[in-house]
């Protein structure tokens, strides 16, 4: 039965908006995802500011492959597979830090910051010099690239360039953070585990249907307003390869009003909601960088597959798969280095109150995601499709002279549908070549 599911050629029905729920728990399908999605995609690894000096490293994952992002002696960021060439042991156990080399704690093979194998204990006595050290350096990501300080890596050498991969939608997503100034990651990545499939977490970032209910208590106590949590004007932007942005959108008039009222101001208090979501966009420069539509998008970008950027571009959450039924959430917090220390302090405190495992919003997400995941295991509950059809066929893609096509609408599931549709295309492709040929272009017309 499990294998049959893989052989089935449609998990998501683009006509009906119905989705085979078993994609959230099937173990074989999960293995396919690791190969066809995570090993193929460009994955966010870390931000430049986390590893400023030679020898600084940050340990992360591409799917279930453990990687180390490290700045080598030539100031190049390397993304090395954290697995010794001898027996596979990890050569780096710390989450972050600074080192001169990566020393394997099993038998002592030692690797340079760029992955070169420096030394093998017993090279002459035991190996009788009969091993070629140059062949046994650490494996490396096929390509490493950096978009405005955001380090990405792919394990697939046939992948297109990072810029091409991101396309304008992915770049717009990252620009939501990068445009905020000379940014850096605030020290401290919040990490926790949720017993959900990673796609349920991704699905949720486009979900402006759930806040009113899931986060009702946060609204009742005043940490979030109805307007924040249930914005009626929604803008959705869909990009090639599964990138998408969904959430509140400003109308042209509202944006112009903000520019008129605030265009001359420089944000001072970092945690003023208005400043954090709106005022920083109120400049010609913002319009130029983000584009005439992008500057009005206040939604949640997802860089396919699993990198979510929050509203206002202050934080990002990486959803790392840990088997079909478990996901790690890693929160990165970005701040403009130049804001005054008090504003920074206020901002940092503020974001810790919203997201992360103790954040008053995010507290209530995990259990819903876990129980939705669990339902996909049941014989009957798993066989019943998930309904992803909200608003399907009722909206129109608006073409903009700038090329920034978008959908202006109400609460909807366009972002989710696009994600699952793209996910299916990734899963069916057996190489970058076939994915490039067969993936859906950004939609036009009625949607």
């Amino acid at each position: 039965m499990r294998n049959k599911l893989i052989a089935n050629d449609s998990w998501y029905n683009v006509e009906t908006g119905l989705l085979d729920r078993r994609i959230f728990s099937d173990p074989d399908l999960y293995q396919e995802e690791l190969k066809n999605i995570f090993a193929r995609a460009w994955n966010f690894i870390c931000h430049d500011s986390q590893i400023p000096e030679a020898g600084d490293y940050f340990r992360s994952y591409i799917g279930e492959d453990e990687v180390i992002a490290v700045r080598d002696r030539k100031q190049q960021v390397q993304v090395l597979l954290n697995s010794c060439s001898h027996r596979g042991n990890t050569v780096c156990r710390a989450d972050q830090g600074n080192t001169r080399s990566f020393f394997c704690s099993y038998h002592g093979w030692n690797y340079d910051l760029d992955g070169t194998l420096l030394a093998i204990p017993g090279y002459e006595d035991f190996y009788r010099s009969d091993i070629d050290k140059t062949e046994w350096g650490l494996q490396k990501a096929a390509k490493v690239s950096n978009y405005k300080g955001f380090v990405f890596a792919t394990l697939d050498e046939d992948a297109p360039s990072l810029e091409a991969y991101l396309g304008w939608v992915g770049r717009l997503g990252i620009d939501q953070i990068a445009f905020r100034g000379d940014i850096e990651v605030v020290d401290g990545i919040q990490k926790n585990r949720v017993q959900c499939n990673w796609k349920i977490a991704v699905d949720n970032l486009f979900d402006w249907y759930h806040p009113k209910v899931s986060h009702g208590s946060a609204m009742d106590i005043g940490i979030a307003t109805n307007a924040d949590m249930h914005p009626m004007n929604q803008m959705v932007i869909l990009g090639e390869y599964g990138h998408a942005i969904g959430g509140p959108g400003l109308s042209e008039e509202s944006q112009l009003k903000i520019v008129k009222e605030h265009g001359h101001k420089k944000p001072t208090s970092a945690y003023d909601r208005k400043e954090y979501t709106d005022i920083w966009r109120a400049t010609d420069q913002a319009r130029e960088t983000l584009g005439p539509v992008g500057v009005r998008s206040r939604g949640h970008p997802n860089i396919f597959p699993n990198f979510w950027i929050t509203l206002g571009g202050t934080q990002a959450c990486l959803r790392i798969p840990k088997g079909p039924l478990e996901t790690e959430l890693w929160w990165f917090t970005f701040v403009d280095k130049s804001i005054p220390p008090e504003a920074r302090r206020e901002f940092v405190r503020g974001v810790s109150h919203i997201f992360g495992p103790a954040g008053l919003l995010e507290q209530d997400d995990g259990e819903n995601w876990a129980h939705s995941t669990r339902a996909s295991i049941g014989t009957l509950t798993g066989a019943r499709p998930a309904v992803i059809s909200m608003g399907q066929g009722h909206d129109q893609v608006v073409e903009d002279p700038s090329g920034q096509s978008h959908i202006n609408t109400v609460v909807n599931e366009h972002g989710q549908r696009w994600t699952y549709r793209s996910w299916q295309e990734w899963m069916k492709a057996d190489s970058w070549d076939s994915l490039m040929r067969n993936h859906s272009k950004a939609p036009e017309g009625k949607i």
């Binding site: 156990r93 926790n192 946060a218 009742d220 940092v348």
Partner: protein, 185 residues
């Protein structure tokens, strides 16, 4: 200027063994009472034990090499799991009791333990403690979370009563294995 740390230490050594014993007993009874209120979900009563200027903080911990342990915990002002004043703790309590805070409704069942309580300094009004804690939470039928760590609590005597003026929580976990931390530590 006398070194404040030094003078506090002196006050501690000035206590007679009997005074120390009584104080130790008093602070432990306070901690037990506080734990009991949380476990019985008497959150308003718990709030009443906090001074208005309480600061409640749990930094993020990382696995580091032995050489890098100075960066094991995030510093105050950088990212944290809890970074709360009294107003925000009141929000947390309001939320737990809201009836639609799904991470706590159905309510979790918790058991708070404290042990290894050491009085590290004493002034006229404040007592600083270093202690170990274990917070066990279970909810629904199979969720189990267990958080252990060290705390630095500061108690203040206000009108003869002890109140909690500061709580720093240093967890043993780096990656939080729980789906959320909606409990009060």
């Amino acid at each position: 200027m006398p070194d404040p740390v030094q003078s506090q230490k002196e006050m501690l050594t000035e206590l007679s063994p009997m005074e120390h014993l009584l104080l130790q007993h008093e602070v432990e009874q306070f901690l037990y009472k506080e734990a009991d209120l949380l476990d019985r979900r008497l959150y308003q009563d718990w709030l009443n034990l906090l001074t208005d200027d309480i600061y409640y903080w749990m930094p993020i911990r990382r696995t580091t090499t032995g050489r890098n342990t100075d960066s094991e915990f995030t510093k105050m002002g950088d990212m944290a799991f809890f970074d709360d004043n009294k107003d925000f703790l009141e929000m947390r309590i309001k939320k737990i009791s809201a009836g639609n805070a799904w991470s706590e409704d159905p309510p979790s069942r918790t058991r708070h333990f404290v042990s290894n309580v050491k009085i590290t300094s004493v002034t006229d009004t404040e007592i600083t403690l270093d202690l170990n804690f274990h917070l066990y939470r279970t909810r629904l039928d199979s969720v189990e979370d267990s958080w252990l760590g060290r705390r630095e609590d500061k108690l203040r005597r206000v009108d003869g009563q002890l109140m909690l003026a500061q709580r720093y929580i240093f967890l043993e976990q780096t990656l939080i294995l729980a789906q959320n931390m909606s409990s009060i530590f």
